[in-house]
C-alpha cells in the first residue's frame, strides 16, 4: 500500500514537471527567435566571427572616412565586400535586398533593434563590379585589427 502511494506521488510529480516544462517551451516559442544569419562565401571573414560581431561597425566607420577623405581604397572593410560575401538568396533564387527579413544584416539588426542607415544610400544587393573582401591571408588576427581600430579612433 505504501509502495503504491509512493508510486502515485512520483507520477504526480513527474506530470507536474512535464507540464511545467511544456509551458516554458511555449513561452520560448512566443519570444522573438534568435537570428541565424547565413554563412558568407569562403572560409573566413576578414576577422574572427566574435571580433566581427563586436567590431564590424567600428571597422566600417573608420573605413568610410579613409575612403572618402583620404582616398585609401583597401577592399577589406568595404561595404560592397560585405554585401557580396553575405548575399542571401530569396525564393526566386536571386539575392534579397535589405527590405527582406532574410537579408544578412537585417536578420541580426532587427533582433537587436538597431537601426542602420547604410542601405539608404548603399546597395544592399551584390553588384557585378563589386569586389568580395575575402580574407586572402585566411583572416587577420584580432590583435592587429584592434590596433587598426585604436589608430583610427584618434
Amino acid at each position: 500500500m505504501r509502495a503504491l502511494r509512493t508510486l502515485f506521488a512520483a507520477l504526480l510529480f513527474l506530470t507536474g514537471v512535464a507540464g511545467g516544462a511544456s509551458a516554458w517551451a511555449e513561452d520560448a516559442a512566443g519570444r522573438t527567435p534568435e537570428p541565424h544569419p547565413a554563412h558568407g562565401k569562403g572560409e573566413h571573414c576578414v576577422a574572427d566571427t566574435a571580433f566581427m560581431r563586436r567590431n564590424h561597425m567600428l571597422m566600417m566607420y573608420a573605413h568610410r572616412t579613409e575612403v572618402l577623405h583620404e582616398g585609401v581604397r583597401t577592399p577589406q572593410f568595404n561595404i560592397s565586400g560585405c554585401v557580396n560575401c553575405h548575399a542571401v538568396k530569396g525564393d526566386d533564387g536571386k539575392p534579397v535586398s535589405f527590405a527582406s527579413e532574410k537579408h544578412f544584416c537585417r536578420s541580426c539588426h532587427s533582433y537587436a533593434a538597431v537601426q542602420i542607415d547604410c542601405f539608404e544610400c548603399h546597395n544592399s544587393k551584390p553588384q557585378e563590379t563589386g569586389k568580395a573582401a575575402a580574407a586572402e591571408n585566411g583572416g587577420e588576427d584580432a590583435a592587429k585589427l584592434a590596433a587598426f581600430l585604436r589608430e583610427n579612433k584618434k
Binding site: 572618402l68 583620404e70 582616398g71 585609401v72 583597401t74 560592397s80 544610400c121 546597395n123 544587393k125 563590379t129
Partner: protein, 255 residues
C-alpha cells in the same frame, strides 16, 4: 590619356595597362617620385590602394569649346550611366552632375555650347559654408560630399556659383557601387574619383574621346602631363575668374 586620340576603347585600355605595368617596374628600380615621370605622360597612373591621395597631384580638366558641338551630350549620358543617375520622372529635380550650357555673347550673338560641372575649386565656397564638414576637398584637389555626414541643408548649393550640386529629393534604389546615393543628401561631380584612383579617366572624358575629344583630364602639377602641355600651348580661361576660386576645370576658346 586617350582623351584626344579618338582611338577605340580597347586600344586605350591596353595602353593604360602597359603604362601601369611600366610604372610598377619603375617603382621597383627608381626612387619614389621619379616613377611619376619616368615613362612620360603618366598623369593617370593608379595609386596603390593603401596610399592616400596627396597634394603632389592636382587633378584638372581642360575643355576645348571648339571641339564641343552643341548637339552632343555624350559626356552627360556617360556621367549618368556610370554614376547611376536615374530619372525621377520630374526633370526639374533630377540630379545633374554635368550639363551642357549655351553661352551667348550679347554683343555678337555668337552662341557656344559648354559642358559645366563641379569646377573643383582650390578655394571652394561649398566647403567654406558647410556646417558639418561633409563638403570637403581631397588633398589632390577633388571636391566631394561625404554623404555620411551631409545633413541636406543645401548651403553648398546656394554658395556654388556654378550650380554644380544636386539635392536628392526621392528615395533611391539599386544604386551603383561607385556612387552610393540616397534621399536627403547633396551630391555633385566627383571627377569619377574611383576611376581616378584606379588610374583611369573620368567617364565623361572617355565618352568625349569617341566624339569630339574636347575633354582632357590630367594632373595640373605634372609639367609633362597631356593637360599641362595643352595648357601651355594655348590660352585658357576659367569661368567667373573674377571670383578667384582657382578652379581645376579650364576652358579653351571660351570667348
Amino acid at each position: 590619356m586617350s582623351s584626344c586620340s579618338g582611338g577605340d576603347g580597347k586600344a586605350a585600355v591596353d595602353r593604360r595597362g602597359v603604362l601601369q605595368a611600366a610604372g610598377a617596374f619603375a617603382g621597383t628600380v627608381l626612387a619614389p617620385g621619379v616613377t611619376l615621370y619616368a615613362f612620360g605622360g603618366g598623369d593617370a597612373q593608379a595609386r596603390p590602394v593603401d596610399e592616400p591621395a596627396s597634394a603632389k597631384q592636382r587633378w584638372g580638366m581642360l575643355i576645348d569649346l571648339n571641339k564641343c558641338s552643341s548637339g552632343c551630350t555624350a559626356c552627360v549620358t556617360a556621367c549618368k550611366d556610370y554614376n547611376g543617375l536615374k530619372s525621377t520622372g520630374r526633370p526639374e529635380i533630377d540630379a545633374q552632375w554635368i550639363r551642357k550650357v549655351s553661352l551667348k555673347d550679347p554683343n555678337t550673338g555668337v552662341v557656344r555650347s559648354a559642358p559645366v560641372m563641379c569646377q573643383h575649386c582650390a578655394s571652394p565656397p561649398c566647403v567654406d559654408v558647410c556646417p558639418t564638414g561633409a563638403s570637403m576637398k581631397r588633398a589632390d584637389g577633388i571636391v566631394l560630399v561625404d554623404k555620411h555626414i551631409c545633413i541636406g541643408c543645401r548651403y553648398c548649393m546656394m554658395a556654388c556659383p556654378f550650380k554644380a550640386r544636386s539635392f536628392i529629393h526621392e528615395e533611391e534604389t539599386d544604386q551603383k557601387v561607385n556612387n552610393p546615393s540616397g534621399k536627403g543628401t547633396v551630391e555633385g561631380c566627383t571627377l569619377c574619383v574611383d576611376r581616378v584612383d584606379a588610374g583611369q579617366n573620368p567617364a565623361c572624358v572617355d565618352a568625349c574621346a569617341k566624339e569630339g575629344g574636347a575633354l582632357v583630364f590630367g594632373d595640373l602639377n605634372d609639367p609633362e602631363s597631356e593637360i599641362s602641355k595643352a595648357m601651355r600651348a594655348q590660352p585658357s580661361a576659367r569661368l567667373r575668374a573674377d571670383l578667384e576660386l582657382d578652379q581645376g576645370i579650364h576652358y579653351v576658346n571660351l570667348k
